[in-house]
């Protein structure tokens, strides 16, 4: 399957949150420790020019992660004290026109339900600024994938997979509510709502190099990139990882999207 098709699928199957109307978030993220471990990268690499590609194991150091995505309420508190990140003031260098466009006014989210929902329509720059203001940061791809790994869900993984597929298959483009806590899947580390709630920003989305080459039908690295002949999926049947990979590769820093939120780590 070409990258192009995957990206088109990601665009066509905008998921919709079908969660319960009851807000789960308390408005304040608590952090949970993710123990150190290894993450097998989705994309293989070659150790040197001309060498065949092989799976890459990325060691992930211990870190702490927010238990839930950042909510509109939390983001509102942030912009209230950060003038330059308010809807009417944010620079077009850092946010596109859709920034916080789902809020009723610049400093008014609207409904209580929306207040408790994950903050979407937030650019990478804005998400990063939010995390920095809390002394935190966005997770790297390795960290995100590691905390959301199948093993972290134990026996629940089958159900989580079903939820993810259901989410991908539901058309829609806006996150309006946070599912009730009882409807969220949590990892054994205590991190909840990683799957089936919202896409989430990662710090190094710009490290995914799988864009234009899909269109021309040429091999990766033809002219556009240096040393990028190193592509190849570890497990091409891992549809969900492929979707996340394709989605992240299609992003730009100023983009704001109705089902793309974030959480912070430190």
């Amino acid at each position: 399957m070409s990258n192009l098709i995957v990206i088109e699928m990601a665009a066509a199957l905008w998921p919709l949150l079908l969660g319960a109307g009851v807000a789960a978030a308390t408005g304040h993220a608590t952090m949970h420790t993710i123990p150190a471990g290894d993450y097998q990268a989705f994309i293989m690499e070659s150790s040197a020019r001309g060498k065949p590609v092989a799976p890459v194991v990325v060691p992930v150091g211990q870190f702490e992660a927010d238990d839930l995505p950042v909510t509109n309420e939390e983001f509102l508190t942030f912009v209230k004290s950060n003038f330059k990140w308010q809807r009417g003031n944010a620079s077009p260098t850092f946010v596109d026109k859709g920034y916080l466009s789902h809020w009723r006014e610049d400093l008014n989210v609207g409904t209580r339900e929306l207040m408790a929902a994950p903050a979407a329509h937030v650019s990478w720059f804005a998400a990063r600024a939010y995390c920095q203001s809390k002394g935190k940061r966005l997770p790297s791809i390795s960290e995100w994938e590691y905390m959301a790994r199948p093993e972290a869900f134990g026996k629940d993984w089958v159900n989580v997979q079903a939820r993810i597929l259901e989410w991908y298959a539901s058309p829609g483009s806006e996150i309006r509510v946070m599912p009730a806590m009882k409807d969220l899947f949590c990892t054994k580390d205590g991190v909840c709502g990683l799957h089936g709630v919202a896409w989430e920003w990662v710090e190094d989305f710009g490290s995914i190099i799988a864009t234009e080459e899909g269109r021309g039908g040429s091999s990766p690295g033809d002219g556009l990139f240096c040393g990028a002949g190193a592509l190849g999926a570890t497990d091409p049947t891992n549809y969900m990882a492929f979707m996340r990979y394709a989605f992240r590769s299609s992003l730009k820093g100023a983009y704001t999207i109705g089902h793309l939120g974030f959480r912070c780590v430190r």
Partner: protein
């Protein structure tokens, strides 16, 4: 008396008109993305902080690279030098060349200084820059420049040369290195962009 009253009125009208016309113009100018919106924490090969806004600079030709790169990075710099060579004397001192390293750990100030000499980069025109990783990501995101460190320490990265106008707006970006100098020179030399 009557005439002078008209003159005064005319002046006031002119001032009012200026405000009325200027406001939408200012809004438009603010409504455009600019690389200069970044709070620069970049340091050049002499250890001096980079000021994005530089008086007298009309054009900025920039790229991201890393100096231990052996394949396309020297080529990118060579292509940028190609642009420099073809600049008319009228633009002397008005065009600067910036190379931002995304390998801040290895590309320290002395390494960049040595590289400037090795590549025979004109003093005063060229600035090789280093910053913490966060800053490189910020700039890369604005430029839509993609890079990834591979397990073997090398980087995969975009091949891209960007042209900024005096306000930091991206005027042109070329990812085909063969035609890049021509594409960007055309912009710099076109009468419309003066």
């Amino acid at each position: 008396m009557v005439i002078s009253a008209f003159v005064v009125l005319g002046r006031q009208l002119a001032i009012i008109l200026c405000f009325v016309l200027a406001v939408p113009l200012m809004v438009r100018a603010e409504g455009q993305a600019s690389v200069y919106d970044i709070e620069s924490k970049w340091v050049d090969q002499q250890g001096k902080p980079l000021a994005f806004k530089a008086p007298g600079i009309q054009w900025t030709v920039l790229s991201m690279a890393y100096t231990s790169c052996e394949s396309s990075c020297p080529l990118i710099i060579q292509k940028m030098q190609g642009i420099e060579k073809k600049l008319p004397t009228a633009l002397d001192g008005k065009v600067r060349f910036l190379v931002f390293s995304f390998d801040g750990k290895r590309d320290t100030v002395p390494v960049l200084a040595a590289y400037t000499v090795k590549r025979k980069l004109t003093a005063g025109n060229w600035f090789l820059l280093t910053a913490p990783e966060d800053e490189a990501r910020t700039l890369a995101s604005i430029l839509d420049f993609r890079y990834k460190q591979l397990a073997n320490g090398d980087f995969s990265h975009s091949n891209q040369i960007t042209l900024l106008d005096h306000s930091g707006r991206i005027v042109a970006q070329a990812s085909d290195l063969v035609t890049a100098p021509e594409t960007l020179l055309e912009k710099i030399l076109s009468p419309a962009s003066k």
